[in-house]
């Protein structure tokens, strides 16, 4: 956009070329890469005491989300919209992290280039684990484009393969669920974790804006003594900060609908989520939201009927 340099230049281009496209929506394409950094050259003059092995158990994997230019918008408007949405997403994630909500780390913010780089969460989405119905069905309802449906299957197989690296057990069914079951985690436990993760998020006054079971990842935490897994909330592209119980209630309602449209017997499941949510939030904060939620259920997500 700016300056005199004639060749368009974006440091993100390098990653986009090399990344593996794992998902495409109407707003953005999501790429996966092993790392933002190539393997280092190691040099130790005297004692090669510390080896070149990876320092931490591999948490290098990166997701690059590219908000590509929209041809249907004026270029100037497009640049500023893309940039401001991206910045907002990055800030929300950092803010959530600061208050202890488990979200991916932000590693790369190239607002002019429309790219944000996040820590790749290794695990399965809640939807995969619950064996949610037809993929894509829900997204279509949420006014996204058909590409979602087209690309999702490939993303699934891709993730599956990555996740079972070294274990050599490619199951046709539900690997995540089997692993959780092996750890003694049942559905109810999972629902409680989701509820308390949401409560933590809402306590920071951030609302997610697009809560679905595919935007919640389950990451195993073998090092932890207290819990075998954690819920990682992803995709803060539509997040905002809330002021009123109304906003939180709508966030919950969106998730409720997502459950209803993808998972059988969802009422019972979702009740578990709400219960844990209420406990996480505390009686005083929960009451007004509960009242609002009943209202929202009756009338739908939008407050007025014009939108």
């Amino acid at each position: 956009m700016s300056s005199s340099s004639s060749t368009p230049y974006s440091p993100s281009a390098y990653y986009l070329e090399r990344g593996e496209l794992i998902k495409q929506g109407a707003e953005a394409k999501v790429y996966s890469l092993p790392s933002l950094f190539p393997p280092p050259k190691i040099y130790y003059p005297s004692s090669p005491s510390s080896s070149s092995s990876t320092s931490t158990p591999n948490r290098d994997g990166v997701i690059i989300k590219h908000r590509f230019p929209k041809k249907y918008r004026h270029p100037t408007l497009d640049t500023s919209l893309t940039s401001s949405r991206l910045i907002f997403e990055a800030r929300s994630l950092a803010r959530a992290a600061k208050y202890g909500v488990v979200v991916p780390r932000v590693l790369w913010v190239d607002d002019r280039g429309g790219c944000i780089g996040l820590e790749r969460v290794e695990g399965w989405s809640v939807r995969e684990v619950l064996g949610g119905g037809a993929e894509g069905e829900m997204e279509l309802q949420e006014e996204e484009e058909e590409e979602v449906e087209l690309y999702m299957p490939s993303s699934q197989t891709g993730e599956g393969e990555r996740d079972v690296q070294g274990e050599g057990e490619v199951e046709e069914g539900n690997e995540g669920w089997e692993r959780l079951k092996g750890l003694g985690v049942g559905r109810d436990h999972l629902m409680r974790s989701i509820g308390s993760a949401l409560a933590k998020l809402h306590l920071t006054t951030i609302i997610h804006g697009d809560l679905t079971t595919s935007n919640m990842m389950i990451r195993l935490t073998p090092d932890s003594k207290t819990q075998p897994y954690e819920i990682v909330l992803i995709d803060f592209g539509l997040s905002s900060t809330a002021q009123f119980p109304e906003n939180y209630a709508v966030d919950l309602y969106v998730l409720e609908r997502a459950f209803a449209s993808t998972h059988p017997r969802s009422e019972k499941l979702y009740a578990g989520v709400l219960e844990a949510y209420a406990r996480g939030l505390g009686e005083k904060k929960w009451k007004p939201i509960e009242i609002k939620l009943k209202e929202v259920r009756k009338r739908g997500r939008k407050r007025d009927m014009t939108g």
Binding site: S2, Y44, L93
Partner: protein, 225 residues
């Protein structure tokens, strides 16, 4: 010393060398040299500046190698910002390096150079003096991180030699960095007190993990706060 080459940035600055030293004995002297170099004018000054042309960081307030690497990316992204969001879409010949074809690209900085910019990128606010005081070398520094930006074809040995000429300390592997972290100071700098008061069901390890995430993300979004 570890050296990373990032082909997405202009080649003159695309290779980053990072060293971690412990038991550094001459921090006050290094600091003095930096100040002298910065205040000396003319050719003499240029020579002094070249000798200490490194980023010197306080090791105690780094929480992980990822923390440092993220700050390096943030610095480079600020100094060489994207000029377009058409990356990889339909520009036939994407050659990110070609912007430098004619003249050496000059990094856009808020401070004097890329190395001081690195200090600023580590800081959660935009106060330059603060960033130097908190993240730069001080008289009491014993765990020192040295960063050098070079072109891709530099000899690691000579880069290391030029660092070793300045620093008197023991080079250690990067797996040591987490043992050096002074969390009291980190908590203060990045305002992490909220995380210390998390519910009792959270184990110290989990809190540590959350803190590292919070710090890394804070540095990651530095350019857009």
């Amino acid at each position: 010393m570890e050296s990373y080459t990032l082909p997405s940035f202009p080649p003159e600055y695309s290779t980053i060398h990072i060293c971690l030293f412990e038991n550094v004995r001459n921090s006050p002297e290094i600091k003095k040299r930096l100040i002298t170099a910065a205040t000396t004018k003319g050719e003499e000054g240029d020579k002094l500046r070249a000798e200490v042309d490194f980023g010197f960081l306080e090791g105690d307030v780094l929480v992980s190698k990822e923390h440092l690497l993220t700050s390096i990316l943030t610095t480079l992204l600020y100094s060489f910002p994207s000029t377009s969001n058409s990356a990889g879409v339909d520009i036939p010949n994407i050659e990110p390096l070609s912007i430098s074809s004619s003249s050496k690209p000059k990094p856009k900085t808020r401070t004097h150079n890329l190395h001081s910019e690195l200090l600023l990128s580590l800081s959660p606010n935009n106060n330059i003096t603060d960033s130097i005081r908190r993240h730069g070398i001080s008289d009491t520094t014993t765990n020192l991180v040295v960063v050098k930006f070079t072109g891709p074809h530099t000899n690691q040995e000579s880069v290391y030699q030029s660092i070793a000429d300045v620093v008197q300390g023991n080079l250690v592997g990067w797996d040591q960095i987490q043992k050096k972290t002074d969390w009291g100071r980190v908590d203060k700098i990045y305002k992490l007190s909220e995380l210390n008061s998390l519910k009792s069901s959270t184990t110290p390890d989990e809190i540590l993990n959350k803190k590292i995430s919070a710090v890394v993300s804070a540095v990651g979004i530095k350019n857009v706060i």
